[in-house]
Amino acid sequence: MNDLYIILTATLVSASCALLGCFLILRRMAMVGDAISHAVLPGIVIAFLLSGSRDSVTMLLGAGIIGMFTTFLIEFFHKKARLQTDASIGVTFTWLFAIGVVMISLFAGKVDLDQDCVLYGEIAYVPLDVIITQGGVNIGPKALYVSGIILLVTLLFIFLAYRKLFLTTFDPAFASAIGISTTLWHYALMGAVSMTTVASFESVGAILVVALLIAPAATAYLLTDNFKTMLGLACLAGTISSITGYYLAVWLDGSIAGAIATMSGMLFGIAMIFSPAHGLFFRKIKAEAH
């Protein structure tokens, strides 16, 4: 049963990440996603201090705000101080992450977080933190519900705003010509990324969530030219990584999150070589046939 809980949680988390990741990599904002996932750390600590627990709502709010703040800072340094984008990203997220780590040591007694958890999460402990109803019935781990709700919210967000997200991603000039605010949707997407990052935080840690944001989406991108298919394939790649990653970790007796990231990289490697349309293997065969 514990195995199932862990795999299910990982699958739900990786699906939300994969969906948002598709938008990120097509907007060439993969590294902004990376930056946000690091930068939410102080937000998590502050939310912890304010609410005194891992109360999810406060945390999601704190993370959303910090995520948008990060996005704003990166834009601000780039536009107003004319700092090149890559440096702007690098300076901003390392600063916020450093503040987060300092806060963890400063409030070590009050905040139930440690540095390892920040780096690679505690998905192995997911089955321990269960919700027990008033009637005393164990209805399963809390993380499972949190990641389920986040996936629902992400799906709802993409479903409702699909056209706008799609247009601002592929043709921002046309989108703004017909009156869709590219800035608004940019920030909305970054807000969603921040929330997903935080929700995934306990499971896979602030850093490995980047693997889940980028790798499945990149894998899917190599397999199809249709965006809706890409969303589906990315979720599938995330799911496969979660399941195989879990068993790899059990086999080696190592970090589950690390193993999931490893597997997501493997899947990408396979897609890179054997993708029917864009794979290196088939391209070579085609080239030789000509």
């Binding site: 890559d86 490995l208 980028i214 790798a215 970090s255």
Partner: protein, 436 residues
């Protein structure tokens, strides 16, 4: 204050190790990192920092202990593989560079974490301390670390000094470097190796995640103070050293505090101060300069209107109502009045109750603006062959910006013409006018 003196006297050997080690690491990383910054590859440093983790674990597994040479060699190998892969993915597939960097960074880190946790559970006693690579351990540096750091720092510095010219040329003009026959690939290879080396020792101070900061943040900060590359490198290393020393001091006064993050907070603070307050490139300096230019443009435009009104009546000194000016060119009334008041204070305009008229000085300044405007229109039509009805906008901008030297050259090139393309008279100063 006492703590500060005690710290700065370096009487305690531990303080000496920590302070000296941190400064060595941050300063040499800052120098190497400046090239990644100038090459616009800031995030590549981040990728290498994450990618060395599996290499360190591999080095440990092969050597069976924490032999620094084995760890550094291992880190070197995977750091390099990660770069090659990023390059390969970017050129061979449709994946863009940022995605490739993020992908390699996170997957390599994942593999590293997996290996690290496996090693930790393997029961090998000598593995403890391997996780220092994750968060750094600047506060617990010892003498033998210092020896390794010093050797690496010296290698980095000597290499950078020896190849400074080549590295700079590559950063600014790769095509030119290639055309004069420099071995571009080879030099890039050396530079990348230096970055990997800096990362390998740097992460022992600040850890994987924050490594990118000590590589690029000093360079980003230094860039705001100067346009000279040598000055920039000097400043970057000084900023790096200051942050290293402060980090060491903070963890000396508050031992529970992690040194690495504090180093990064200090260097980020220096960077933010630079972004805002650096005189010419900073946000505030830029804003002030823009406001000044905006003011000049507004002032000169109002003077110009008064001059043009004067041309219509053949008398430049008739005092005018505010409404007359607005009829010629629209302004918010209050804004216009405040411009007029400013011009009055500067002596360009004379006010009599609600009437405003040019002074001699005001007329001269306005005349110059109008002259440049019309000369420029003529220049654009004769030399650039732009239609006369397309030149006004451009002239409207240049009239506020042209320096006296350029103004003189323009007059000479065009041969002091009498009228512009729209047959308006070009007004020269009296002394020039009489000579014509």
């Amino acid at each position: 204050m006492n703590a500060l003196w005690e710290f700065l006297s370096f009487s305690d050997p531990n303080i000496r190790y920590v302070a000296f080690g941190s400064v060595l690491l941050t300063a040499s990383s800052a120098i190497v990192g400046s090239f990644t910054f100038l090459n616009k590859k800031s995030l590549v440093g981040d990728a290498i920092a994450h990618a060395v983790l599996p290499g360190i674990c591999l080095g440990f597994l092969l050597a069976g202990n924490k032999n620094p040479i084995a760890l550094i060699v291992g880190a070197f190998v995977t750091g390099w593989i990660s770069l090659v892969l990023v390059e390969y993915i970017t050129t061979k597939t449709r994946i863009k560079e940022d995605t490739a960097i993020g992908l390699i960074l996170s997957v390599f880190f994942g593999i590293g974490i997996l290996m690290l946790t496996v090693i930790q559970k393997s029961g090998n006693a000598s593995q403890s301390g391997l996780d220092h690579f994750l968060f750094g351990k600047a506060a617990s540096l010892v003498g033998s670390d210092l020896v390794t750091f010093s050797i690496v720092a010296v290698i980095l510095l000597v290499m950078v000094l020896a190849l400074f010219k080549e590295f700079s040329l590559l950063a600014f003009d790769k095509d030119y470097a290639r055309s004069i026959g420099l071995p571009v690939k080879g030099i890039e290879l050396v530079l990348t190796s230096l970055i990997v080396l800096a990362v390998v020792i740097g992460i022992q101070a600040v850890g994987v995640v924050l490594m990118a900061a000590i590589l690029i943040t000093p360079a980003a900060a230094a860039r705001f103070w100067t346009d000279k590359i040598t000055v920039m490198f000097f400043l970057a290393s000084v900023f790096g050293a200051i942050s290293g020393l402060s980090g060491a001091f903070i963890s000396y006064t508050a031992p529970s505090m992690p040194t690495g993050p504090w180093i990064v907070i200090v260097i980020s603070t220096i960077a933010f101060i630079s972004f805002f307050f650096a005189p010419t490139r900073g946000v505030i300096g830029r804003y002030i300069r823009q406001a000044k230019i905006r003011k000049t443009i507004n002032d000169e435009n109002v003077l110009k209107i008064l001059y043009q009104l004067g041309e219509e009546n053949k008398n430049f000194f008739i005092p005018r109502l505010v409404d007359e000016i607005i009829r010629k060119r629209f302004y918010e009334k209050q804004a216009l009045i405040s411009i007029l008041k400013r011009l009055t204070r500067q002596g360009y305009i004379e006010r009599t109750r609600n009437l405003w008229g040019l002074t001699e000085e005001g007329k001269n300044r306005a005349q110059r603006v109008v002259k440049i405007h019309r000369l420029w229109e003529l220049y654009l039509t004769t030399y650039m062959h732009i239609a006369p009805d397309h030149v006004h906008e451009d002239a409207d901008t240049i009239e506020h910006l042209l320096t006296p030297e350029l103004e003189e050259r323009l007059e000479k090139i065009l041969g002091y013409p009498k009228v512009d393309p729209h047959q308006s008279k070009i007004p020269y100063r009296e002394d020039v006018d009489t000579k014509l």
